[in-house]
Point group: C2
Chain length 520, copies 2
Amino acid sequence: MSKQPVFIAGEWRESDATGTFQSGNPATKEPLPEVYPVSSWADCDAALDAATTAFEEMRSLSGSQIAEFLETFANEIESRADELVKWANLETALPVSPRLADVELPRTTGQLRQAAAAARSSNWTQPVIDSANNIRSCYGALGPVCVFGPNNFPFAFGSASGGDFAAAIAAGNPVIAKANSSHPGTTKVFAECASAAAEKTGMPSAIVQLIYRTSHDVGERLVSDPRIGATGYTGSRGAGLTLKKAADAAGKPIYLELSSVNPVVFLPAILEEKAEELATEFAGSCLMGTGQFCTNPGMVVLIESSAAETFVTSVAKQFSEAGVGTLLSGAVEKSLHQSHAILTEAGAEVCTGTGAGNGVGYCAANTLLRISGSQFLTNPEVMQTEAFGNSSLIVVTESVTEAAAVLARLEGNLTGCLYSAADGKDDEAYHALAPILRQKVGRLLNDKMPTGVAVSPAMNHGGPYPATGHPGFTAVGIPGSLLRFAMLQSYDNVRQDRLPEILRDDYSGQAQRLIDGVWT
Amino acid sequence: MSKQPVFIAGEWRESDATGTFQSGNPATKEPLPEVYPVSSWADCDAALDAATTAFEEMRSLSGSQIAEFLETFANEIESRADELVKWANLETALPVSPRLADVELPRTTGQLRQAAAAARSSNWTQPVIDSANNIRSCYGALGPVCVFGPNNFPFAFGSASGGDFAAAIAAGNPVIAKANSSHPGTTKVFAECASAAAEKTGMPSAIVQLIYRTSHDVGERLVSDPRIGATGYTGSRGAGLTLKKAADAAGKPIYLELSSVNPVVFLPAILEEKAEELATEFAGSCLMGTGQFCTNPGMVVLIESSAAETFVTSVAKQFSEAGVGTLLSGAVEKSLHQSHAILTEAGAEVCTGTGAGNGVGYCAANTLLRISGSQFLTNPEVMQTEAFGNSSLIVVTESVTEAAAVLARLEGNLTGCLYSAADGKDDEAYHALAPILRQKVGRLLNDKMPTGVAVSPAMNHGGPYPATGHPGFTAVGIPGSLLRFAMLQSYDNVRQDRLPEILRDDYSGQAQRLIDGVWT
């Protein structure tokens, strides 16, 4: 069977392949018919050369021209929405509706349009002018960006369509998309849409390129190549850390979203007040999308009480009674079982689950595990093993003091939540725990599950390592997410007509500028 | 002889030392009498514990309280200015006046006061409020910061007084200062001033701590410890990369200023116009401070012409006639000779210098080397060997095209300059070269030497690797430099009275906030 072509330098061309792979339908466990190439270094080298040329051309484009491309791309996506949804459903088993068609696709085009608005306004470049010294600065594009997308959001985090893609392009960089191997067909349609949009809006032909897979060696070489500006990666911790090591050694920025257990603390008084209600809220959040969200609540911290027991019993019951969703792939199923084995071997008690699921295709039983605070503290690293999927670990501590010790041993996470009573009865415990949790997470929540990630300028979808590779940046939220793919550029005594327009004295645009200490 | 104590947890205490060292007087090549400890891990461990506690306490301080500390510290420094200048002159041989007393000391206290103003205004935290989603974000303190200062600015980049120190404290983090081993006596006086200021303003006793030296192993452990928030390092590339590797593996941010040759391009028409004048300007900049600036112009790119030859001849003459300054240490002298050996072995022609200097103490002859563009292109990595000191390398290319090829092979640098004629005769060449240089440097200059680094909000004292470790951050310029020691913190549905004051609805301060897309 003939291999699918890669998209390099504006051409769908035969890959210089070192092997092939197929994606599968998680609902049937059957491979899909299309065969995709594993790219050699020659493919990457050609893509890097083309991206270098595209970047040179992009540097003379205005923000408005880039915005037009992003908006046209969003339109192209909408014109092929049915096809995209069909592909993604086939390759990921995520439900067509509402998930793919009504939630993730509109979110994706919405992100692209927000990124377009950011490119058009140029506010994200944060222009600063010091008239007395005649020094000016702003953020500027960095160079070709390589995007590795995850398996769990084929649209909104897709390598040729998602948040990293939108941010990199809006900041003025071409993208080399490395498709997630579990949904190459979906990603290919996005690359076709991008190519059509690039042609319609007069973009360089290599503004977007697509490869499907590489060996580890080739991937490491790609992210550390001198022609690369930066890399965005969302995926497994193991593969991410391998890329990080290579990029770090070459001094190339790499933004990673790796793993997160997203601790949720239910304080005693609110649990006393409505344990059952909270159990239902928690179970819904944890099982939604078969738990395959980066911000899935994978760890719960309680302080022992009868209400805490009511909560655990209720969650266990709901988990055992709820339907079992399909997992994204055999690899996800395997990894989930492995994580359960690690946790139970370390002493976690099974409240419900851990076995095979009675669902369709790849699946696992909805799983609730339980340990004590002292078990956690004896073995904190192992007890933070991420069990990606429909699973959570409850840590029952004996006191607020022990809960504080548990939080103090947490690794970095994307989110952390504290539920507390409205009448102030939990306030003392809140103030003991919140400052500890605050430093461990990118987003701190009150009385709310973490699974929703609004595309808001105040969002931080980031956090300390190993949630991400750097605690100063967010992957969601525009314009903040653009700063990952930019460099700070200062101009010292540079003549007016040689400055970027936004730094000139006669600038007539609408962007906010900090001129001699005053926002203007 | 008794060892000098370290300053840990607010106490001058005996070090748990694994060895000792002495600093030397570079002008006499004699060791100074004081004996300083090489700290074991036990010292670092104690400092990390104390810093953790100090950080917890600092999180309840307002920006104004931190500002008072920084201002009081600046006053303390001024009250002991004579002593500081005397120590720094002894340990570095930098001239008392104007350099230490009239330039670097005022710059240092000025930076501290600018950092105080940033802490007081809180504008650096970039508060964003999304009312519809009730999500809010700002940058916040990261945790204890370890600062490794360089040898060449004992005040302005000193580990207990300089830019990294001021930025880390202003952002709300305690500092563990690792003195540069060439000026421990100077650094000790700063720590005494800081301690006095901390006491007067009611700061946690471990807001500033001081150790003098560690083994490489202990240093690597320090920057990767879970209790560390981030590290700031300015110094040699070798030692910096060792620390970077350790910090990267632990996912701890580390901001490094490593090495930079700061290319200066003189275009043909301006050289034709005033080769002699430019030679004098260049020679002055290159030999100032015996060339020991991070932004010293260590590489010049010319396009061959008789004016270019006039320039080279004139610089060589001025170099050979100018006095020879004292270098900071025997290590700097040795390293400079080694770099000259590497460059000449690779084919660089000696216009003047490379031998022993006829100056006082550690020194080397003012050195001008020369290669062709094709020599550079044959061996670009070696030809970019930094020769830190009173030295520069001229690259004579045969055309603008070849000059472009040279610039395209440059590593990342702090600065890059282009000199061009005012009448437009160099414009075509400028527009061919500037875009290439722009992506390689943090600060692009026109018609100006790079050695001055204004403390301006528009300054970027940073640049792509290996100039620094990340192209998005600056080490000079307030408030930008604070962002290195901060994390992005989002608050989702958090109750009003639990928010940082700056994110509350009833905030009454003066800081600019982005509320629902509008700066307010």
